[in-house]
Symmetry: C2
Subunit: 347 residues, 2 copies
């Protein structure tokens, strides 16, 4: 039976297993450093559909379909699907999962959705509410541009292709990608050892072209709480992976933690920095973003690294910027949130 | 320890307690049949704020503030807040709960959000993940009109005031209201006995002015699964309360269940029909809707009725239409979802 440790962290005594996972991406993601590790790369930004929104849904459905297939499971074997995305009214997740006939728990955590969904799926398995559940999310460069940047000017080309090159250096690039994971009570695979769901942190950042800076304080807050609750230090983990702070937000995270005497050193990486090669893929500027960024990095790189025993303990900390075009237009600052999942090597 | 019963239902052995709750509403809601039972009615549609969106956030924050106060609690006593709303990127919930410093689990279930949040809060308490958590949601006529109906024509006046009177008879009225509940492991109050989280059901309805019809199949689906799982009949419950099917959707629900030999009889009511007096408040047409409709009916009428022992067992079944203006513009049908929470009388 799970028990709380300290104020914010839940230790999962049964350590639910991540049984299978899949990552699906677009052309740019395929050309990135992790491209070869994706389960599927589709260079057609429409994914064979009539609109980008339908494409994103199809991509999220495909990620879960592939993850289920790898575990030899069918949709009907799942007891719950935890999913969400960036689009208004979580359009992609809804349409991706409407045909499974599986109880659907819709989430909204912006780019933190992969750790939010993974955490809830693990907590449901731990509590005995489910034997098998899925966590999934997605993002698509074109649906995000259409929704968030049109008709707002942000110093860049608004048409999604060809890729704009006049963006500000703090801007991030919404990944066209999806990741899905299937969790269960029994079996082989990386396990979920602890979860720290984060509080909303708002330090007053208002620059929608600098999401990393808006989210870094929430990542610092959640990590500090987790370390305090568990009595561990960053040295106890092989990788501490945020998503998606990008270059600017990652640097700020280091500064914020240093003030509290916490050093990340080389253990830290960021999904927004892992997904693309910023030297070659210069259009991504500060790095990747979007729910699908951390989801696809988790499912193409982090979970396989745990499975192959390349690393033993990872803190997966997806971060979300909880803003909308309306809140920005009304002069609101950008609140951030970060949910942490401690993953430990497969057996 | 909770156990699953049948395929879809979780019985909560410890029966978490709904310790306190509060409902906040606007002018029209104050003039409705439940107006006198609201904790606060604010006739200012701006709620003292500069925009309707900020007003909705303030209203949701106030609902939780009042609920906490009634239980003699502070925000910091909560371990989790489960919340969401209808606005793009769940704006209202984010800004309502950004200052509590409490772990925030953002949800999206459209108008089903109150039962989704209540269910998750109860499941977290049951599993021992939290001693105290909150469930909250809201909606606002003006924010919903601005977001969903502008610039779309729907046969009615698009300006939110004065109230339009040219709407179609199947249309529903987005409530300006919020409800919040605090759940705990111990104490006095109505209790959560079982939860059935619903699957997405899409019967192909495309009329965004007939949400009730789009959601009725999901309500029928979830209720059938719950009754089957628990081996009970509708006669075992004093009230079966959907939200928000309105008049049209409620009639359809009765028809759908009758095909399976299930009779609702006088036990059924709908939050969309309870919140307004459709004879006098004719502008609401088929009834109320919006996340705040079922949330405020729960917190102004259903929970008090359980607490006062007027009724013993209520099935609270908030329903959501999982669509967006984009999905409608792209010709998509409207998927529905319904989450069921079995509430039983206070002790």
């Amino acid at each position: 039976m799970a028990r709380r440790t300290g104020k914010h962290t839940i230790l999962l005594d049964t350590m639910p297993v991540v049984l299978s996972w899949a990552a699906v991406g677009g052309k740019l993601e395929g050309e990135g450093p992790l491209g070869g590790q994706f389960d599927e790369i589709n260079e057609d930004s429409y994914y064979g559909e009539k609109t980008w929104e339908k494409a994103e849904s199809a991509m999220q459905k495909q990620a879960l379909t592939l993850a289920l297939k790898k575990a030899g499971l069918k949709g009907e074997d799942l007891q719950f699907i935890f999913a969400g995305d960036l689009l208004n009214q979580s359009l992609s997740a809804t349409f991706a999962h409407r045909d499974w006939g599986v109880p659907f728990v819709g989430l909204y955590g912006a780019c933190s959705t992969m750790s939010e969904s993974l955490a809830l799926a693990a907590l449901f398995v731990e509590a005995g509410y489910a034997r098998l559940c899925a966590a999934a999310t997605s993002s698509h460069f074109c649906t995000a541009e259409r929704q968030f940047r049109f008709p707002l000017e942000y110093g860049g080309q608004r048409t999604p292709v060809p890729y704009g090159n006049q963006r500000t250096p703090t801007a991030q690039w919404t990944a066209t990608a999806s990741g899905a994971a299937v969790l269960g009570a029994q079996g082989r695979g990386p396990r979920v050892k602890a979860v720290t769901l984060g509080a909303i942190v708002d330090m007053g950042t208002t620059d929608a072209n600098n999401m990393g800076a808006a989210m870094a304080p929430s990542a610092a807050d959640t990590l500090k709480k987790f370390l305090e609750d568990t009595g561990t230090t960053t040295a106890d983990y092989d990788m501490i992976v945020t998503g998606d702070l990008g270059q600017v937000g990652s640097a700020l995270l280091g500064e914020l933690l240093a003030k509290d005497g916490i050093s990340l050193e080389s253990r830290h990486n960021d999904c927004g920095l892992l997904l693309y090669d910023r030297e070659k893929q210069t259009q991504v500027e500060s790095g990747g973003s979007g729910c699908g960024c951390s989801a696809s990095v988790l499912c193409s790189y982090l979970l396989p690294a745990l499975q192959n025993k390349e690393v033993k303990d990872i803190l997966f900390m997806a971060t979300g910027a909880l803003m909308s075009t309306t809140s920005s237009q009304q002069g609101e600052s950008i609140p951030g949130v970060c949910h942490l999942v401690h993953l430990t090597g497969g057996a």
